[in-house]
Symmetry: C7
Subunit: 97 residues, 7 copies
Amino acid sequence: MNGIKRLVLDVLKLHDPTIIVIADAIGQLDGVDGVNISLYEVDQQTENVKITVEGDRLNFDLIKRTIEDFGAAIHSIDEVVSGKRIVTEEETLLERT
Amino acid sequence: MNGIKRLVLDVLKLHDPTIIVIADAIGQLDGVDGVNISLYEVDQQTENVKITVEGDRLNFDLIKRTIEDFGAAIHSIDEVVSGKRIVTEEETLLERT
Amino acid sequence: MNGIKRLVLDVLKLHDPTIIVIADAIGQLDGVDGVNISLYEVDQQTENVKITVEGDRLNFDLIKRTIEDFGAAIHSIDEVVSGKRIVTEEETLLERT
Amino acid sequence: MNGIKRLVLDVLKLHDPTIIVIADAIGQLDGVDGVNISLYEVDQQTENVKITVEGDRLNFDLIKRTIEDFGAAIHSIDEVVSGKRIVTEEETLLERT
Amino acid sequence: MNGIKRLVLDVLKLHDPTIIVIADAIGQLDGVDGVNISLYEVDQQTENVKITVEGDRLNFDLIKRTIEDFGAAIHSIDEVVSGKRIVTEEETLLERT
Amino acid sequence: MNGIKRLVLDVLKLHDPTIIVIADAIGQLDGVDGVNISLYEVDQQTENVKITVEGDRLNFDLIKRTIEDFGAAIHSIDEVVSGKRIVTEEETLLERT
Amino acid sequence: MNGIKRLVLDVLKLHDPTIIVIADAIGQLDGVDGVNISLYEVDQQTENVKITVEGDRLNFDLIKRTIEDFGAAIHSIDEVVSGKRIVTEEETLLERT
């Protein structure tokens, strides 16, 4: 099935709710096979997390609304995979040299 | 089956009981397939450990209570995976550059 | 089937449309199995992305036109794979020493 | 089968007996599938080794007694895996950044 | 089938034609299963690329002529694999120490 | 079958005989599935090599005698695996931090 | 089948003949499954290459003669594998610390 297969989002959130609550909500959305939320910076009021969502025909608007409903904001879209199968980004010779 | 599939927790504990006792207890909880407890810092009174739990429909409250019953405290929730299958967090091009 | 199997492109784009819109469009082109768009630099007006396309008999002109229709420009073609199967570029002894 | 599946121990031992003799003894204990003993520091009287034991329902007390019977001492328990299957500890985004 | 199975060539080329045109031509040669052309340096008039060709009974003279017909020159032959199957070059202990 | 499954030895040898002759001899011993001899330092009279032996019920005394019969000496036993299957030594969180 | 399964040789050769000619010759020797020749240093008159040969019951004398017949010289034998199956050399804990 064609469509968005993977999304990697950089998200700023409040401490509350925890990433468990947000992961649980995204994990139940239509088209989502699984979601990984990883913490990478903690401040007094907020924390920065990286959200990786995989599935078939991912609905970005629905995922965005779900994230924002928890008072969190998408800071940037860092990676998108679309098509019939997942294509991974690999380090090229140019990047290595 | 939907639900929380993996949890990575940063935990502060007393030297006693050992991580063997705590791993054994978490490993027997409902929904838990396996648990890994790895030591990363040892102080005079306490030690810091990283707890990785995998399974189906993990019950965070139950895991938290089990950890706290041993006099240990969850310092932060570093990673959560939810959905039908485990999605891993991969280093993006943006992080590499 | 013979033909271009993988293309890695360095592309400069405006913030709008997002990489989701562009990935979705490329992912639906003839011959495309999948596409990965990864962000690596963000400026005030523009952003630099790396586009990896895989498939059979990829049509570069069609992919190029699709990218340019979104107001983006191909800065360089960093890697191409052609033939009956994908051949990966591996670090040689000479590069390591 | 539930229980302790892997143990990583930091052990201080005398030069005699060799790690071959100790590995042979641990490898024959009930529940042990295999044991790896790796040397990492050699001093005049002693040597430091890392012992990794894998199996089903590992009996820590039995393993500990076996190690101590050879005049060696467990310096710390660095990793424990428990449950129905082995869960590996993976580097998190937080550790990488 | 015996013969040359992989060739890694360091090639200097003009900007025109693109690596897509050259990869397409090599990918259609007799005995070639696939070819990877990766860019690693861009100058005003020229660019340096690494060409990896895999197949059965690769005909080096034919590949060389094809490359030269595009106004490009083989700067060095960095790796060759010959025989019944591909043998990879692995980092030895001596190189690591 | 229980017993020693892998041995890693640090060995000092004369230039003559070559590691080919020694590997050939060890490779034919009872219980040995395979042996790898890797060079890591060359001096005027001697060379240091790392010998990795894998098999079932490896007989250390026999291997030691074979090595010494070639005028070589075991400098240290760096790793031993024993039991029903090979257990590998993995880098722990504590070593990484 | 018992015997030498892999050989890694450090070889000094003249620019002529190319590594393609030498790889082709070694790849056709009795017992050879495949050979990899990788360049690692180029001087005015000579070049240094690393030759990895894999097969069953490799005949070192025959391989050596073939190399020398091309005016090349074996500088050192860096790795040998012998026995019923290939055993790889792995980095030990001692080397890592």
